[in-house]
């Protein structure tokens, strides 16, 4: 259903572009205000790790993003039902085509080329990507049972996907499920590690963090660690939930407590990061975002599935993509 809602094609790329442009123009005018607001919140809630992390404070004692053992045990408990079409992860499965569409859209704005590129080539021309004949390399951080890892690995332009997750139990499910599709064997690998301890031998064209940052103790340090592994011209694409009254209502009260379509304890509302906070974080990172930074809000409509809705990034689930400058 949701796949149908949003296709990367000419008409929709306009709407993405529109969002991106709207956001880019808004950035210059209000980002300062957002930043101020965010700093003051940070001061008030300095015990709340989300703000602390995004504020660029030291992060975990070892300087990384950290792994929350409570989160790991929560997802361990979900492991066996990860691929159950009618199970607790159903909403994630339904969201997956939208993740693919958003990632494809980001990549269509440009990806690392074969050779080095002149700096003045402009942003988002969509031309840079044509040179990638070696195939896309992807690091899916917090891959869980492998819903996104498998699907991005199946795309014909993808050459290699590493799925990274700190839970060995969840990765066991991912590995077992990947064996059901013989075409994945050469392309998809799972690595049991946190991003802090992960030492790949190369950088990636795309790093994805789907529904991850809201589960991490120190998101800023976590994101900075991820950023090191992105090849110049490559992308970080993530999805998460904004910390608003409406997201508390939908993800905690309705989804977890009342309807119970999402297992209780899946979300910690305090850890949610708002889109302007995310944007302002990346704006401060040198060498990031000048050639592409965009977001897209989406909403789950019972009976219809996931729908991309303009402006909803301020209220609930949103996708965020940011490109490392070439």
């Amino acid at each position: 259903m949701s796949g149908r809602a949003l296709r990367v094609g000419a008409p929709l790329s306009h709407s993405y572009r529109h969002i991106a442009l709207r956001k880019l123009s808004r950035r210059s005018t209000i980002s300062n205000a957002v930043f101020q607001q965010w700093v003051s919140r940070d001061a008030r809630h300095n015990s709340t790790s989300a703000y602390q992390g995004m504020g660029g404070s030291p992060g975990s004692p070892n300087g990384g993003g950290g792994v929350d053992p409570v989160e790991v045990s929560h997802f361990n408990a979900l492991a066996s039902s990860w691929w159950d079409a009618q199970g607790p992860s159903r909403l994630l499965h339904l969201m997956n085509p939208m993740r693919i569409d958003f990632a494809k859209h980001c990549l269509s704005m440009g990806i690392p080329g074969e050779g080095t590129r002149a700096a003045g080539e402009g942003e988002g021309t969509g031309k840079e990507g044509k040179g990638l004949s070696r195939g896309l390399t992807v690091l899916d951080v917090g891959c869980g049972g492998g819903i996104f890892s498998e699907s991005i690995a199946r795309l014909p332009n993808t050459s290699k996907v590493i799925g990274l997750d700190p839970s060995e139990q969840v990765l066991g499910v991912a590995r077992a499920h990947a064996k059901k599709d013989p075409t994945l064997a050469g392309k998809l690998q799972y690595v049991n590690s946190s991003i802090d301890e992960y030492t790949p031998d190369q950088q990636f064209d795309l790093i994805t963090l789907f529904e991850v940052v809201e589960h991490v103790p120190y998101p800023a340090a976590f994101l900075q660690t991820c950023m090191r592994h992105v090849r110049p011209g490559g992308w970080i694409v993530l999805s998460t939930i904004a910390r608003t009254w409406s997201s508390w209502m939908t993800t905690k009260l309705i989804a977890e407590d009342l309807l119970r379509i999402v297992p209780q304890g899946t979300h910690d509302w305090q850890k949610y990061i708002n889109e302007p906070e995310m944007r302002s974080f990346f704006e401060k990172q040198p060498g990031w975002g000048s050639q592409g930074m965009l977001s897209m809000g989406c909403l789950y409509v019972p009976g219809l599935g996931w729908r991309a809705i303009k402006g909803s990034e301020d209220y609930g689930n949103y996708f965020f993509g940011v490109r490392r400058d070439l």
Binding site: G3, A85, N96, P97, I100, S151, K180
Partner: protein, 491 residues
């Protein structure tokens, strides 16, 4: 009437039952370490090489997103006779289909329609439908409704094509494809079971199809286009509910009187035993579809050719009482109808069809009518299309059109799954197909079924009511007629 309220057990063919048992037992046993040759892996295995199965293979091959898939199609019959079909202008087969414009549009898009010999296709843009008891009549005629043919408006209601002609065109299209599906004909599905787990792969949810020639095919997605008694559906454990109508449909091809002075119409008269229809073919040919009781069908088949011809002419002219009486005659129908028609008032063509003059030898055949709807169209690595998913009363000529609608929707879902990196066998890929097709098909099945019931009454309060309804439609009050006609064209 009560029949439709009961869910009678559906009689499955012995073959289907055997398959299901074998499949279930095999599914349990497949964990054992018996030595078996490795199955050849396919993206899609289609069981059934009828018009729907062939349309599916052709559509998958023609769509850019799916054209690279490795596909096998299995058919029990010999496809060579269809491939080598070489028609003569003085003969038309008895099994014909009515293709509505949306079906033809899809066949054009998939490159099939160019292989259809237009001189053997008869389109019509008018229908005469009337009640055998009250003579209440609906004329569906776009030309009359629009006050003459308008430029640029396709007023075709449907195109009549012989089944074998359509299948022949589909096979020709399949020959042209860059990646041709593996066509396995004259071969039966011996059993379907789940695969095994090895060191490298886990095929325990992959259907493995064993053929009568010993070949084994592993299917990422197994599609049943294998008819009302679908072995694929049985394997998937999907129930199909419905009932037998206790009616058979009698078909035959005729030569008719010269009708060149009239527009080509389809004619259908609702008799309490079931509708009788004459459908146009090119030149002075026409096709019969007469739904009635198995006993009456047996009688019609036993009649001498000239008595059979007289009987069919009478079915569009005489009262139901007369027709019922004629069914008791073993011979002498010609004389009897001559006399009865001479004392009966009936309209002239083109309000009724011109007289048929001759039945083509060997074209009298019949098949039982059923209404069946599968509980689901999909399972993990399973999809059902066409009659495997739904069997409909043929009076509205919608069976194959619904099957082609299924194909179009399923191919769309598969293409969407591919572009999003989904496993095409996963239920997440297939769910949109089911949610798009189930309710429209259910409504169509229900509508046709209600018509069958409604026109089954010889007398009673519903008889004048149904005539009143028909009058309202015929006068195009509330734009009902236009609505019905445009719906029939879209479906």
């Amino acid at each position: 009437m009560q029949r439709s309220l009961l869910h009678l057990p559906i009689k499955r063919s012995a073959w289907a039952i055997r398959t299901s048992n074998v499949a279930r037992i095999a599914a349990v046993r497949s964990f054992a370490s018996e030595a078996s040759p490795n199955p050849e892996i396919y993206d899609i295995v289609v069981v059934g090489g009828g018009p729907v199965g062939l349309t599916l293979a052709a559509s998958l091959g023609a769509a850019r997103a799916t054209s690279h898939l490795k596909i096998a199609l299995i058919e029990g019959m010999n496809l060579a006779s269809i491939r080598d079909w070489n028609p003569t202008p003085d003969y038309f087969a008895n099994r014909i289909v009515s293709l509505i414009p949306s079906t033809v549009k899809l066949l054009k898009e998939t490159g099939v329609w160019k292989h259809i010999k237009q001189e053997r296709v008869q389109s019509y843009d008018g229908m005469q439908v009337w009640d055998g008891m009250t003579d209440a009549r609906v004329e569906f005629d776009w030309n009359k409704l629009l006050g003459g043919r308008e430029e640029g408006i396709d007023t075709t209601i449907a195109h009549m094509v012989e089944n074998i002609h359509l299948s022949h065109g589909l096979l020709q299209r399949l020959e042209e494809l860059a990646v041709k599906p593996t066509m396995i004909d004259k071969t039966k599905v011996e059993k379907i079971e789940y695969g095994q787990m090895t060191e490298d792969v886990d095929m325990r949810d992959w259907p493995i199809v064993t053929l009568s020639n010993g070949q084994k095919l592993g299917a990422r997605l197994l599609i049943g286009a294998d008819g009302g008694n679908s072995p694929v559906r049985t394997f998937a454990g999907i129930e199909s509910r419905g009932w037998d109508y206790d009616r058979h449909s009698m078909v035959a091809t005729f030569k008719i009187e010269d009708d060149s002075a009239f527009p080509k119409f389809a004619y259908q008269r609702f008799l309490p035993s079931g509708p009788v229809a004459i459908l146009p073919l090119p030149g002075n040919f026409a096709n019969l579809a007469w739904s009635t009781t198995p006993e009456k069908v047996a009688h019609l088949k036993s009649l001498a050719p000239e008595d059979f011809v007289a009987m069919v002419n009478a079915a569009f002219r005489l009262s139901y009482t007369d027709i019922d009486y004629l069914h008791n005659l073993k011979s002498g129908v010609v004389e009897e109808t001559k006399w009865r028609e001479s004392v009966t008032k009936y309209p002239d063509p083109p309000t009724i069809p011109v007289r048929i003059t001759e039945v083509l030898e060997g074209t009298r055949a019949s098949f039982p009518l059923k209404m069946k709807h599968a509980d689901r169209y999909i399972g993990e690595r399973i999809a059902l299309v066409g009659d495997a998913a739904h069997t409909i009363h043929p009076m509205a000529g919608q069976g194959l059109n619904a099957g082609v609608g299924d194909v179009y929707s399923l191919v769309k879902s598969i293409a969407d799954g591919i572009s999003h990196g989904q496993d095409i066998g996963s239920s997440f890929t297939l769910e949109p197909y089911q949610s798009e097709r189930y309710l429209p098909n259910n409504a169509l099945l229900g509508f046709v079924d209600k018509l069958h019931t409604l026109y089954g009454f010889e007398s009673g309060p519903l008889v004048p009511l149904r005539s009143m309804g028909v009058e309202i439609i015929n006068r195009d009050w509330f734009g009902l007629k236009r609505f019905l006609m445009s719906q029939a064209a879209k479906s």
